[in-house]
Symmetry: C2
C-alpha cells in the first residue's frame, strides 16, 4: 500500500487520520506546486489528478479522502474515527460532507480564484478552468458563514459530530488551518467555541501531521 | 422514521435507493418551489435547509444523501448497494463523491446561476447567494467533460463502480436526468457507452421513483 501525498490541506486530512490510527503507510511525494499530479505517470493512476491517493498492492487506486478513510477504518477499526454504530457513522459522514461543501470548497474557491499560481486551474483536475474573480468575494463570505455555523455547533457539542473526536474534526481542523493560512481568513475572535475547539484538537500530536 | 422529500434530483437518489431496497418509509413533502425548506419548521430540523432529510423516531435528523444511504444500508443490508467488501464500498464512495463534485455540482451550477427562480439562491442553504453569470457557461463546459469522463468509465465497466448496480449508478442516473431536464444538457449522441448504461439503469423499476 502506498499513499500519494503533498504538504497541502487536502492530503493533510489523511496524514492526521493515519497518525490517530498509529498507521505508517509508505508515502510517495507528488509535487503539486510543480504540477506533477497532471503528468502522465500520476494521471494513469488517478485521472482526476487529485492528492491524496491510496494505491493498493494490486494497483487499485482510491482517490477520494472519505473513500480512503472508510477503507482504512474497515481494515484498522481501532481507535474508531468513523463511529461505533451506524447512526454515529452517518452523523460523522453528514458533518464531513457539510464541512466539505460549505467550508473546504469556500476556502478553495478563494484561493483558486485569487492566486496567480492557480491561473486556469480554478478547479482541481486536468481540465483548464479559468478563474472567476467574483468567486473570491463569494468564497470569503461563505467562509465567514461557515465559521459562524461551526461555532454554533461547537457551542452545543464538544466535538463536531458528538462527544468524541472523529474524522469530522480532522476535516474541520484542516479547513480552519487552510482558511487561516493559504486563505488568509483566520477565525474571528468572537467565535470562542470554534477557537477553543481548535486549540483542543491542535494540541493532539496528530495535528502536526 | 420519516423521509422529507420533493420531486427534485437530489431527493430522487434516495427514492431510487429505497425502491431498490424495497423499503417504504413514510414521506413528508417539503415544497422547495415555495421555499418551505427555508421556513422555521424545517429549518429547526435541518439548518442547512436541504432535502432529502431523514428524521428518526427520537428526532435525530440526517441531512446528507450519502450519510442517509450508509445508515439505511447498515440497517437493511440486502440487496447491497454499497458493496460487499471494504474495497468495493470505498470504490462506490469514491465514484459517488466524484459524480457529486464533477457532475451534480456542474449541472446545479448551470441551473442555479441561470434560472430566475434561483435569484439570490445560487447555492443551497439559508444564506442569500447572488447568481454569477460566468458560472452558467463554466457549468455547461464542466458537464460536457463529466459526460465524456463517465462515458470512458462505462466503456471499461458495466456499472459505474464495477460489475454490479450500486449507489454510484443511482447518483449518476439522477445527474444525467437532471442535466437533460432542468439543465437542458442531454448526453451527446456520440457517448454511446453512457447512453447504453442510461437505458439499462432507466429500465429498472426503481428509476420511476
Amino acid at each position: 500500500m502506498r499513499l500519494y501525498d503533498y504538504p497541502a490541506p487536502s492530503p493533510r486530512r489523511l496524514r492526521i487520520f493515519l497518525a490517530e490510527k498509529g498507521l505508517d503507510i509508505p508515502r510517495v511525494a507528488v509535487d503539486l506546486a510543480k504540477g506533477e499530479q497532471l503528468g502522465p505517470e500520476f494521471r494513469a493512476r488517478n485521472p482526476r489528478c487529485t492528492v491524496p491517493m491510496l494505491e493498493l498492492d494490486d494497483g487499485t487506486c482510491l482517490s477520494d479522502c472519505l473513500a480512503i478513510c472508510e477503507y482504512l477504518e474497515a481494515l484498522h477499526p481501532e481507535p474508531p474515527l468513523l463511529g461505533a454504530t451506524p447512526l454515529e457513522r452517518a452523523q460523522i459522514v453528514m458533518w464531513y460532507q457539510r464541512i466539505d461543501a460549505d467550508g473546504f470548497n469556500a476556502v478553495a474557491e478563494v484561493m483558486r480564484n485569487a492566486s496567480p499560481a492557480f491561473k486556469d486551474r480554478a478547479l482541481p483536475g486536468p481540465e483548464p478552468t479559468p478563474q472567476i474573480p467574483a468567486l473570491v468575494e463569494r468564497g470569503r463570505q461563505r467562509a465567514q458563514v461557515f465559521y459562524r455555523d461551526m461555532n454554533a455547533r461547537l457551542m452545543e457539542s464538544e466535538y463536531v459530530a458528538g462527544p468524541t473526536y472523529t474524522l469530522a474534526d480532522i476535516h474541520l481542523l484542516s479547513v480552519v488551518d487552510f482558511g487561516a493560512g493559504w486563505g488568509r481568513m483566520p477565525v474571528p475572535a468572537e467565535l470562542t467555541a470554534l477557537l477553543a475547539w481548535h486549540q483542543r484538537v491542535s494540541a493532539r500530536p496528530s495535528a502536526k501531521a
